[in-house]
C-alpha cells in the first residue's frame, strides 16, 4: 500500500521535473554528445554527404595558427579581465561605500548601467568611437598631437580594443557584488578593530579583505570562466577576429569556423577542445579555492 503510494508520489514528482529535464537533455546534453560526434566528420552544412575523418580535425586544429592565436588571446583577455574587473571594482566599491547619502546611490546606479544594456548595441557605439578617421578617440588624440592607430584593424591593438569594451560592459556586475559583500561585513568587526587602535590600512588588510574572500573568489571564478563567452559579441561586431586572426579568441573561433567557413566538423572539434580546456581550468580553480578560502574565520 505504502509502496505504491510512494511510487505515485515519485511519478508525480517526476512530472514536475519533466520540463526542465527534457529541455536540458535536448538542448544541452544531446548537443554536447552530438558536437563531439560531429567533430569526427567533415561537413559544410549544405551537402547531403558527411565524410568521416577520424582525428584529422583535431590534428589540423592543433597545427593551425588561428587556434594558437585564439588561445593566446583568450589567455591575455582572461588575465586582463581578471585584473581590471576583479581588482578595480573592489576599489570602486570601497570608494562608493565611503560616500554618504544619496550620492552613494547615484554612483551605484551610474557605474552599473553598462551592464544593463545590450552588449551588441553598445558595440555599435564603440565601433563608432574607434573609427580611425572620425571616431572620437582618434579625434581627441589628434588634439593632443598624436595620430591614433587604426584600433580595430591593427594587429597589436585589436584584441585590446575588444578587452576594453568587455571590461566596460562587465565590471559593473562585479562592482555591485562587492558592495553587497562589503555591506555584509558586520559593523561590530570594524568597531572592535578601531577600539583596538587599528589604522585604516590595517583594518582593510586584516578584516575587510579576509571577510570578503568568498565574494572575491566568486567574482574571480565567474569572471575567469565566463571570459571566453563574454568576448564573443565584441569580437563578432568589432573585428571578426581580424586583422588576419590577430584578435581571434576561443569565444569567437567556433562561430567563425562553423558559420563563416562552414566547416562544421572542424568547428565542433574546436568546441570540444575548448570545453575540455575550460573544464580543466575550472576544476583546478575549485581545487585551489577549497584550500585557500576560510569561511567565517
Amino acid at each position: 500500500m505504502i509502496a505504491s503510494r510512494r511510487r505515485r508520489a515519485a511519478a508525480a514528482g517526476y512530472l514536475y521535473l519533466a520540463p526542465a529535464a527534457a529541455l536540458t537533455l535536448v538542448f544541452v546534453y544531446w548537443p554536447l554528445v552530438a558536437s563531439t560526434a560531429l567533430s569526427f566528420y567533415d561537413w559544410n552544412l549544405v551537402s547531403p554527404t558527411w565524410t568521416a575523418v577520424g582525428w584529422e580535425n583535431y590534428r589540423e586544429l592543433v597545427h593551425t595558427r588561428a587556434f594558437w592565436l585564439a588561445l593566446v588571446n583568450t589567455g591575455r583577455a582572461a588575465a586582463a579581465l581578471t585584473v581590471l574587473t576583479v581588482l578595480v571594482p573592489l576599489l570602486l566599491a570601497v570608494a562608493v561605500l565611503r560616500v554618504k547619502g544619496w550620492w552613494r546611490n547615484v554612483y551605484r546606479v551610474v557605474l552599473f548601467s553598462p551592464t544593463v544594456i545590450s552588449m551588441a548595441i553598445a558595440c555599435a557605439v564603440w565601433l563608432w568611437m574607434f573609427h580611425p578617421l572620425h571616431g572620437v578617440i582618434n579625434t581627441l588624440l589628434r588634439y593632443g598631437g598624436v595620430e591614433g592607430p587604426r584600433w580595430l584593424s591593427s594587429g597589436s591593438s585589436a584584441i585590446w580594443a575588444i578587452i576594453l569594451v568587455t571590461v566596460w560592459k562587465t565590471f559593473g556586475f562585479n562592482f555591485v557584488i562587492y558592495i553587497a559583500g562589503l555591506l555584509a561585513i558586520p559593523a561590530e568587526m570594524y568597531e572592535a578593530a578601531r577600539v583596538d587602535g587599528a589604522s585604516e590600512r590595517q583594518v582593510f588588510r586584516h578584516i575587510t579583505l579576509p571577510l570578503l574572500a568568498p565574494t572575491t573568489l566568486f567574482v574571480f571564478l565567474t569572471t575567469f570562466i565566463l571570459s571566453p563567452q563574454n568576448l564573443f559579441v565584441p569580437t563578432q561586431i568589432l573585428t571578426q577576429g581580424g586583422p588576419n586572426e590577430a584578435s581571434n579568441n576561443l569565444g569567437y573561433l567556433v562561430y567563425q569556423l562553423g558559420f563563416e567557413y562552414f566547416r562544421v566538423g572542424y568547428a565542433s572539434a574546436a568546441a570540444t577542445l575548448i570545453f575540455l580546456v575550460l573544464l580543466a581550468l575550472s576544476a583546478a580553480q575549485f581545487y585551489f579555492a577549497e584550500r585557500r578560502v576560510h569561511y567565517g574565520r
Binding site: A9, G13, Y14, Y16, L17, A20, A21, L23, T24, V26, F27, V28, Y29, P31, S35, A95, V96, R98, Y107, V109, V110, L111, F112, S113, P114, V116, I117, S118, M119, A120, I121, A122, A124, V125, W126, W128, H134, V136, T139, W168, V176, I177, A180, G181, A184, F218, I225, P228, Q236, V254, Y255, G258, V264, A267, A271, T272, I274, F275, L278, S282
Partner: protein, 272 residues
C-alpha cells in the same frame, strides 16, 4: 577627513564620466547633422541638433518590429524559465524525488557548458524541424536555466519545514502546496530571478543571430548589427539614432526600477 572625501568623490566622478561617456556620445552623434559628424573637430554637443537621423533610422530598420520581437521573446522566455525553474527546484528541494541529487547536479552542470559547444547541434536541430526564423525557434532553446534552478533550490531548502508540513496536514496536493505556500513565500527570489532573466534575454545576441536571418524576425541587438553592415561605414548618424532608440527604453526602465534591478543581480549573485 573632508579632504579625503573630496578625493573619493573626484575619483568616482571621473570614473562615472568615463563610464557614461559612450552612451552620451551616442546620443550626441545621433543629434548631429552629417556635416558635424564628419567634421573632424571635437564638439561635445551638436551646434545644430537635428532629428533627421532618427527619421532616417526608422525608414531603414524596422525598429518597431525589432522591438516587438525582442519584447515578445523576452517575455515568453522569462515566463518559461521561471516556470521550469520553479517546478524543477520544487521537485528537487521539497518533493525530493528519488534521484533528485543527480538531476540537480545535471541542471547545475549545464552552467559549465559554454554555448560554443551546443550552438551548432542546436542550430541543426532547429533547422531540421523547420523552426528557423520562427518565434518557437528563438524561444525554446533559450529556456534552459541551470542558474534559476540552482538559485531557487537554495531558496526552497531554506524554507522552514513547518510551512510545507502544515500544507500536507491540511490535505493539500503537491500542486497546491507549490502554488499556495512555496511560491508566495519565496516571491522575492522569484521576482529577482525574473528581472534577471528578462534583462539577459533582451540582450541575447548569438542565438538570435543564428536563428533569425529574416529581417523581420530579428531581435533588436541583431537588427542593429545588420544596420551596421548596411552602408558599410558611412551611416553613423542614423546608426547612433537607432542605437539610442534601442537603448533608451532599457535605460529608463533601469533608472526607474534601479533599486529593484540592482538587488536582483546581487541576490542572484550572492546566493551560493
Amino acid at each position: 577627513m573632508a579632504g579625503k572625501a573630496r578625493w573619493v568623490h573626484a575619483l568616482l566622478l571621473v570614473t562615472c564620466a568615463a563610464v557614461v561617456f559612450p552612451m552620451f556620445w551616442m546620443l550626441s552623434t545621433a543629434l548631429k547633422p552629417p556635416p558635424e559628424i564628419f567634421a573632424g573637430t571635437f564638439r561635445l554637443w551638436p551646434v545644430h541638433p537635428t532629428l533627421q537621423n532618427f527619421a532616417t533610422a526608422m525608414t531603414q530598420v524596422p525598429l518597431l518590429r525589432l522591438f516587438w520581437n525582442s519584447l515578445f521573446v523576452a517575455v515568453v522566455v522569462t515566463a518559461a524559465q521561471a516556470l521550469t525553474s520553479v517546478l524543477a527546484a520544487y521537485a528537487c528541494a521539497i518533493l525530493r524525488v528519488p534521484g533528485q541529487r543527480v538531476w540537480f547536479g545535471l541542471f547545475v552542470a549545464t552552467m559549465m557548458v559554454p554555448f560554443q559547444v551546443t550552438m551548432i547541434p542546436n542550430y541543426l536541430l532547429v533547422a531540421r524541424f523547420n523552426l528557423l526564423n520562427s518565434y518557437m525557434g528563438l524561444v525554446v532553446p533559450q529556456v534552459i536555466t541551470g542558474y534559476g534552478i540552482f538559485l531557487l533550490h537554495q531558496t526552497y531548502r531554506n524554507l522552514p519545514a513547518s510551512l510545507v508540513e502544515a500544507g500536507i496536514l491540511d490535505g493539500a496536493s503537491s500542486w497546491q502546496i507549490l502554488w499556495r505556500i512555496v511560491v508566495p513565500a519565496t516571491s522575492t527570489a522569484l521576482a529577482a530571478l525574473a528581472v534577471l532573466f528578462f534583462i539577459n534575454t533582451c540582450n541575447q545576441y548569438l542565438w538570435p543571430l543564428l536563428v533569425a536571418s529574416d529581417r523581420y524576425m530579428k531581435t533588436l541587438p541583431v537588427g542593429m548589427q545588420e544596420f551596421v553592415n548596411l552602408e558599410g561605414g558611412t551611416n553613423w548618424g542614423p546608426l547612433m539614432a537607432a542605437a539610442t532608440m534601442a537603448i533608451v527604453p532599457a535605460l529608463l526602465a533601469y533608472v526607474v526600477a534601479q533599486r529593484y534591478v540592482l538587488e536582483s543581480f546581487v541576490t542572484a549573485g550572492l546566493k551560493e
